[in-house]
Structures are given as structure tokens and as C-alpha cells.
């Protein structure tokens, strides 16, 4: 691949769409999402289940293919290279070399019958042309780097012999083995305990900074995003509804959904039995989307226009929100 286009974003996504044919009609899982990601920055994508955050990112890197009955549209460029035109074989080459991925459940993303050292070294042999001995040496170094004690012994073990936290460390070692430019972490700590989650997030953040990688951190946990992301994209019902720096999102959300989400969280600073401000209703059926804003039925600020017309993500001073009645910059939730 050619060198980075100077000044341009590392990853550029325009009007990404993913649809699935179902018995009830076309389910628009991702409906026209655009964003840019600069090298060295972390983008947190937050949303609830069904918001399309995972499908969006998987579709960018060719993991949601037309083979699964999905219809994928839009434009994706990594370092200026158009990814949509790539063959399946070129994609395989790209993953692992330029893009590293860490999934939610390391038990399913690791090969249960292959030794850990070999799994880490595999990408190095394929993409970097290392011989087996060199790949094995590098695998042990990587195990040290991700904080696994007794790396030589662990390298010759199988995934089931490790704890959940250790397995996720191994998955991270595999993802960063070939020095990718972009690291995608899809709910990397959801299956882990709080204390282990903390260690894994620290590790991810350290690797991202030291290597100058760009990172996409997909999470449903606003707390995780708050502590680790530079920018945040909030997704609801397949669309990006707000995009801003992390501080702006938490200090002064413009989109009512973001505000409602932040308000509904129980907080340690509140006394016991504080009534939570719940969001009424539930997310829409993506196969039966009506006109207008998807959040309108649950929104306290809705007006007639919200039900008739669909708000597009408009940009104002570097931040974007999809709302006709945006909240003022002052008086944000959680402040």
C-alpha cells in the first residue's frame, strides 16, 4: 500500500449502509453513516444493541459480506485506498497487516486447537515474511508486551488453559503483531469483570498511544467511552445522531437522545433511591421505520417537524448532530 496521504484522514467513511433482507422486509441496520478518523486518535462509537455500531464497523472491513445476504453500500477509504473495491483475498491481506481487530469474546475469536504462540506468529509469517523461529521469538516478545507472565510457557499453551482476561491479552497481541495503522476494538471488555476490564482498557490505550495507531472503540458503556475516547459518535437506530469530542458529548450534548442516555445512568455520586430519569418506550423496529426522526416517539423535545421529516447530521463548529431542536451548549446533562 502507498504511504499515508499527508493531512488526510486515515479512515474516511461516506454514507455507509448495510441492509439485511428479512421476512418482514429490508432491515436497515446501518443507514447512511459518514465519519473521518485521523491517525493516532481514538473514536468511541456508542449505542445500544441494535443501534448498528458493530455492523457498521464490521461492514467497513469486509466482515459483513454480500455472502451473508447483506447489502452493503457507501464509500470507505483507508489511507486513500478504496476498500469497497477490494476482493475477498485482498481484504484478508489487509486485516492483520493494516487493521487489527479485537472482538468481545476471545474464546470464539481464538482458534481452540492452535497453540497461542503459533496463533500470534501466524500473521507475522503471512504478512511480514518471518520464518517460524523468528515468528515464535516475536510472539513471546508480544506476550511480554501485553503483560502475560511466563510468556515462553504460555506460548505453548492452548486458549482454554488461560483465563478470560489473559485470552483477551492474547487477542490484543495478535491484533497488534503486524503493527497495524488501525485497531478496531468491538466491545473488548464486555465479557470481563470490572477489575480485569480496567487492565485490558489500560493495555489497549497504552498500545494505541505508543504505536500511534488510530483506534475505533465500540462500546455500549458510556463510562468506558468517557475514559478512553478522544471523539465519540453516538448511534441510534442505524444512524449517527451525534458526533463530537468526548468532552463536548458529556458536558453539553446537543442531541436529546445523548442527553437522555446520560441522564438515565445511575451514578455513584447520587444518593441511594434517587429516581432515575428513564427514557420511555424502546428503540424502533428497523424493518418498519416510519418517516421522521427515529428517536422522535421517545423524545421530550419533539415537534411536528420531527415526525414528518428526517433530520440529517448537520455540522456546527466541528461537531455534528441530527436534530431539529438541538439542546443549547449550556446546561448539558451530567454537568
Amino acid at each position: 500500500m502507498s504511504g499515508a496521504v499527508s493531512g488526510g484522514p486515515l479512515l474516511s467513511v461516506r454514507d455507509a449502509r448495510v441492509g439485511f433482507g428479512t421476512v418482514r422486509g429490508l432491515l436497515r441496520a446501518v443507514d447512511g453513516v459518514s465519519f473521518d478518523l485521523q491517525a493516532g486518535r481514538t473514536l468511541g462509537i456508542v449505542g445500544e444493541s441494535g443501534s448498528g455500531k458493530s455492523v457498521l464497523v464490521r461492514s467497513l472491513i469486509g466482515l459483513v459480506g454480500t455472502g451473508s445476504g447483506a447489502i452493503v453500500g457507501g464509500e470507505v477509504r483507508l489511507d486513500g485506498q478504496d476498500l469497497r473495491g477490494l476482493s475477498a483475498a485482498s481484504f484478508r491481506h489487509l486485516l492483520g497487516r493494516d487493521i487489527g481487530i479485537v472482538f468481545q469474546d476471545p474464546m470464539t475469536s481464538l482458534n481452540p486447537v492452535m497453540k497461542i504462540g503459533r496463533q500470534i506468529g501466524e500473521g507475522l509469517r503471512l504478512n511480514r515474511g518471518l520464518d517460524s523461529a523468528a515468528a515464535a521469538r516475536r510472539a513471546v516478545e508480544l506476550l511480554v508486551e501485553v503483560g502475560i507472565p511466563e510468556p515462553e510457557r504460555r506460548a505453548s499453551q492452548y486458549p482454554h488453559e488461560l483465563s478470560g482476561g489473559m485470552r483477551q491479552r492474547v487477542a490484543i497481541a495478535i491484533a497488534i503483531a503486524c503493527e497495524p495503522k488501525l485497531l478496531i476494538a468491538d466491545e473488548p471488555t464486555t465479557a470481563l469483570d470490572v477489575t480485569v476490564q480496567r487492565q485490558i482498557l489500560d493495555l489497549l490505550q497504552r498500545e494505541q498511544r505508543e504505536r500511534g495507531m488510530a483506534m475505533i472503540l465500540i462500546t455500549h458503556d458510556l463510562g468506558v467511552a468517557a475514559g478512553r475516547a478522544d471523539d465519540i459518535m453516538v448511534m441510534y437506530a442505524g444512524r449517527a445522531v451525534e458526533m463530537a469530542t468526548t468532552r463536548e458529548i458529556f458536558r453539553g450534548p446537543r442531541m436529546p437522545y445523548t442527553e437522555a442516555l446520560l441522564r438515565s445512568l445511575p451514578r455513584l455520586t447520587d444518593p441511594t433511591h434517587t429516581r432515575l430519569s428513564a427514557i420511555p418506550g424502546r428503540p424502533p423496529d428497523l424493518a418498519r421505520r416510519g418517516t421522521g426522526c427515529s428517536f422522535a416517539p421517545r423524545c421530550t423535545y419533539r415537534s411536528g417537524r420531527c415526525e414528518a421529516e428526517e433530520p440529517v447530521l448537520s455540522r456546527e463548529g466541528g461537531r455534528g448532530f441530527a436534530c431539529f431542536n438541538p439542546l443549547g451548549t449550556s446546561g448539558g446533562a451530567g454537568a
Partner: protein
């Protein structure tokens, strides 16, 4: 490709007509069952009436499927034979599933000693050579429709027990079973109200396959001369009779063999279909 351009294709897929793979087997099984039930009223000649002058006639306008070694009408015998084969094929696994299902569900639900005992019993039954056991059983008790059905029914117990045990194991660990216990429901109530309705669909799919297996097994018994006693027709018996004249009148063996083949194939198709309907749904829930 844009999403909107592909939309019509997907909408069209929704209105997909009944697949041939489902319609043909269903139609064939329905025809066989219908004829077996109405055999007495559709003006068929007596399946036992012999006319030695007209033996081994090929299919003609008078005898649609020809006649057999003793000059009996093949069509009539196929239909009445279908009745016999279906009675055995449906009742034997039904009996086996009743007993085997109860054993398997108890084993999967209670675990522990009950499970150990049940699995041991199943393994012992499975260790016997199946056909030899059936032959011994029928030879000892005497050939009759009831005894043949009973023998084949006993043979289907282990398979039924295994299927129901595996399914029960999967369902008994679900939280709704625990929820039923927290309200004080008895084991009997939990087994019949909570677990059975979930195990039944898988059992039904397997039962369809078992019917076809039993029809073949009954054919094998008849072929060996220990099936349904003559002159009552059965498909296996007809194939056995036709075997003597394979060189001069091949239709006497091939027609019942073809009918049995189609019926067994159709039942297997339907069984697979039902299983596919049941399985993804279960994993989705």
C-alpha cells in the same frame, strides 16, 4: 450496490412459493395415507383373490399395476399393503417414543442415578443386533400384526430415549425451569408443562424419520419370512414374493420396492424439513 436498488429482490423473496422439495414429499405421503384409509371404499378388487390364469401380468388397462405370482391385483395389494406398512410404521415408533421419550426425559431431567440407570438400559438395548432381536421376538411370540409392531416398537426405544434425553438436558438448564421451581411446581408439572412442549417439536421431526426406518425394517422382516403373515399384504412381503419371478415379471418386486422407496424418501425429506424449522428457532430464542 445501493440499498434501494436491491430492495425489490428482497421483497420478492418474501412471497416465495411452497418449495417443491416440501410439496412433492408432502403430496406423496398424503396420497399414500389417503388411499390406505379409504381402501375399502374405492372399489378395489379383493387383494387376496387369486386368479392363477392371470398371474404375472404386466401393467395394463385392466390391472393398472399388473398382477403378482398368484394372479392377485397389484394395485389393490399395494394400497392394502400400504395400510399394513403404515400401521406398523406409525404405531411402532409411537409406542417406542412413548416409552423411550419418558425414559429419556426422566434421565435428562433428574440426572444422577436415574440418568445412569437409563443410559445403561439404552446401551444394553443398543448392544443387541437389531434385526436379530426382532426376528427372535417375532419367532418366539408368533407372527401377527400386533407382535411385529411391538417388536419394532421396542427396537425404537433407544433412539427415542437418546433424542429426548439430549433435548431435555438442553431445556432443563434454562432459567424458566428454575423459575417454575421457585413457585413450587412439582417435577411432574415441570416435565409436562415446561419441558415437554419444548422437546416435542424435535421429537416429532425424529418420529417422521423413525416411521420411514420402521417401514424398511418391517420390509426386511417380511423379506425374511417373519413379517406380517400371509395373505395380508405388506410391501415387504410383496417384494419377497416378487423376488421369485424377478427374471420373468420384474414388476412384481420393483413396484412395491419403488413405492416403499418413495414413501421412505418423502418421510425423510419431511423429517429434515421439520427439524430445520425447529432448530434455528430454538437457538434464536
Amino acid at each position: 450496490m445501493s440499498a434501494s436498488a436491491a430492495e425489490p429482490a428482497i421483497v420478492a423473496r418474501r412471497g416465495r412459493p411452497l418449495s417443491w422439495a416440501l410439496a412433492l414429499p408432502l403430496a406423496w405421503v398424503a396420497l399414500v395415507v389417503f388411499l390406505a384409509i379409504t381402501a375399502d371404499w374405492i372399489g378395489l378388487p379383493d387383494p387376496a383373490a387369486q386368479e392363477l390364469i392371470l398371474r404375472r401380468k404386466p401393467p395394463s388397462a385392466e390391472f393398472l399395476l399388473g398382477t403378482d405370482n398368484l394372479g392377485r391385483d397389484m394395485l389393490s395389494r399395494i394400497i392394502y399393503g400400504g395400510r399394513t406398512s403404515l400401521i406398523v410404521g406409525i404405531c411402532a415408533p409411537f409406542f417406542g417414543f412413548l416409552i423411550g421419550g419418558a425414559i429419556g426425559m426422566s434421565a435428562g431431567y433428574f440426572r444422577g442415578k436415574v440418568d445412569l440407570l437409563a443410559v445403561g438400559f439404552i446401551d444394553i438395548l443398543l448392544a443387541f443386533p437389531t434385526l436379530v432381536l426382532a426376528l427372535t421376538f417375532v419367532a418366539y411370540l408368533g407372527q401377527s400384526l400386533f407382535n411385529v409392531t411391538l417388536a419394532l416398537g421396542i427396537l425404537s426405544i433407544p433412539a427415542a430415549a437418546r433424542v429426548s434425553r439430549a433435548n431435555t438436558l438442553a431445556w432443563a438448564n434454562r432459567d424458566f425451569v428454575l423459575a417454575a421451581r421457585t413457585i413450587g411446581a412439582s417435577n411432574w408439572r415441570i416435565l409436562t408443562r415446561e419441558i415437554l412442549p419444548n422437546v416435542l417439536p424435535a421429537m416429532f421431526a425424529f418420529w417422521l424419520v423413525a416411521v420411514s426406518v420402521i417401514i424398511v425394517a418391517e420390509g426386511a422382516l417380511s423379506f425374511l419370512g417373519l413379517g406380517i403373515p400371509a395373505p395380508q399384504p405388506s410391501w415387504g412381503g410383496m417384494i419377497a414374493d416378487g423376488r421369485e419371478a424377478l427374471d420373468v415379471a420384474p414388476h412384481t418386486a420393483l413396484i412395491p420396492a419403488a413405492v416403499m422407496f418413495l414413501t421412505v424418501l418423502s418421510l425423510n425429506f419431511l423429517g429434515d424439513m421439520v427439524r430445520n424449522l425447529v432448530d434455528p428457532r430454538r437457538s434464536a430464542l
